[in-house]
């Protein structure tokens, strides 16, 4: 009777499985291999994923100085899986000091010494992009980001293409669909000085935390976005806590499930995390956690400890320094230490486990 299971039901069942299981099930038979590798299937799978709870599919990718790339499955660590759950991706030639540009829909954009790479850590598909000729400038500073434009159904990579001689601000944009670069110019704005580094992709735009000048020469923290459809910058969100007299220090933006996540530390060594799913000046943030970190010994003040994630059991994953990560349990103030490997970790990004292929035009990658 199992043989008479109609294929559309088999597909319905497969679409409910995590991407990791599906990658394994490509081995079951030719039909399943073809089904699972199909681009439309990957798209449906992504849509179903987004309609549910994203957190079980969230992972971190960390990059080390010697080109190592690793996935950290922090929920598995929480379950007592141990360090065996950290995986070193293969099939991607080691990039010297890869910079992580951003991630979206399970695709991670990396910057190597001479070009950009789009990689899906779950399916291990990888493509090198034709480089713009200013890659070295992007590596040193400048804004970058990777995200999805639903209007054109395209993934875009944004990189700072300005040189010091430019009057206006120049951004280079790569379209994965067309496989080509183009550039846009934006009139220079005060806030652009502050914009640097990886933008966080969320809701069709890239986001950065910056300070803007407001009344009485005060600086106010805001979240700025670069909308991938309009290709313009906007001030889109306030920050959850005003930074007053350096008592509160905002550490950075991230993603928690389907929400934008921001964290800060306070003068009395508390680390707090906030999430929001709203836009606009009136948007409000919900406090996800507020923990007293004096329980965490060996806080290295020269390295800003960054809370990376909040697990489903309420533990906080904190990036301590270039070599380790801890899982802090606020309920009993205990910490578990995890070595991230011998290669010093420089960057991280959160990503989803999906089947989305960087080969947008292909379907099955046989």
């Amino acid at each position: 009777m199992a043989e008479s299971m109609p294929e559309d039901i088999v597909v319905d069942i497969l679409l409910r499985l995590p991407a990791k299981s599906l990658v394994r099930f490509k081995c079951v038979c030719k039909r399943w291999r073809s089904l699972i590798s199909d681009r439309a299937f990957a798209k449906s799978h992504l849509q179903r994923l987004k309609a549910g709870d994203l957190i079980p599919s969230q992972r971190f990718i960390i990059s080390g100085c010697n080109g190592s790339l690793k996935t950290v499955d922090y929920e598995a660590l929480d379950d007592g899986g141990g360090e065996g759950r950290m995986v070193v991706p293969h099939g991607i030639k080691p990039l010297w000091e890869p910079r992580i540009v951003g991630s979206c829909d399970g695709l991670v954009c990396l910057l190597g010494p001479s070009n950009f790479v789009i990689y899906n850590p779950t399916t291990r598909e990888c493509i090198e992009l034709p480089g713009p000729n200013f890659v070295d400038r992007v590596r040193l500073s400048g804004v970058s980001g990777f995200g999805y434009d639903s209007q054109s159904d395209d993934y875009k990579l944004v990189a700072d293409a300005s040189s010091s001689s430019d009057e206006n601000w120049k951004l280079a944009i790569f379209s994965l669909k067309s496989g080509s670069w183009r550039s846009i110019e934006l009139p220079f704005q005060e806030e652009f000085n502050e914009l640097t580094g990886q933008g966080v992709y969320w809701k069709g735009a890239l986001h950065w935390h910056v300070y803007v000048l407001c009344m009485y020469d005060k600086r106010e923290g805001v979240i700025m976005s670069f909308d991938l459809l309009e290709e313009k910058f906007h001030e889109v969100l306030p920050v959850p806590v005003p930074e007053v007299d350096e008592d509160i220090c905002l550490l950075g933006l991230g993603i928690h499930g389907a929400n934008l996540f921001i964290n800060n530390c306070t003068h009395d060594r508390r680390i707090e995390g906030w999430i929001t799913d709203e836009y606009g000046r009136g948007a409000s943030w919900t406090k996800l956690f507020s923990v007293d970190c004096s329980a965490i010994i060996n806080l290295d003040r020269d390295f800003e400890q960054t809370p990376l994630a909040y697990t489903s059991s309420g533990k906080i994953v904190i990036w301590m320094d270039t070599k380790r990560m801890i899982m802090f349990n606020p309920k009993d103030n205990t910490c578990k230490d995890y070595l991230l490997g011998t290669d010093l970790v420089r960057e991280y990004a959160i990503y989803l486990e999906t089947l989305v292929s960087p080969y947008l035009d292909g379907g099955a990658v046989e």
Partner: protein, 164 residues
Amino acid sequence: MSSSPPPSSAAASPSCPKKMIALRSSDGETFEIEEAAALQSKTLENMIDEDCAGTPIPLPNVTGKILAKVVEFCSKHAEPGVDDESLRAWDAEFVNVEQATVFDYILAANFLEIPTLLNLTCNVVADMIRGKTPDEIRKFFNIKSIFSPEEEEEVRRENHWAFE
């Protein structure tokens, strides 16, 4: 119950709370189901609309054993005043059966177009299989792998990290 009253042309809402629909399974058993519960099935809803609800509706694809359970499911889900949590717990118990029966439920839910039952049972099967090896999957679905040993080795190699 005696022969049903003339079917109303007003579509889906039951004309009286206790209107019963008769169903006949593939092995000749007859079951009665309240109209409100029957409407959980799009297939039955269409038949009721098209005035086919006079005689017991024959369901050649569903055995009596399964049909009894499907009637039970639909009746439970048509019951007023059941809170979400109890319904979820009831559903969990309902699908706490052997694999072959879950498959039968899926086929019945598909044939009768009962979205709630189909969703529930597909989730159960998904949970059953997510951690399995390809070999276990083949046994589970009775799939004959048509990869040659070389092809299979190649596919395994391509995706070896997924097995770690």
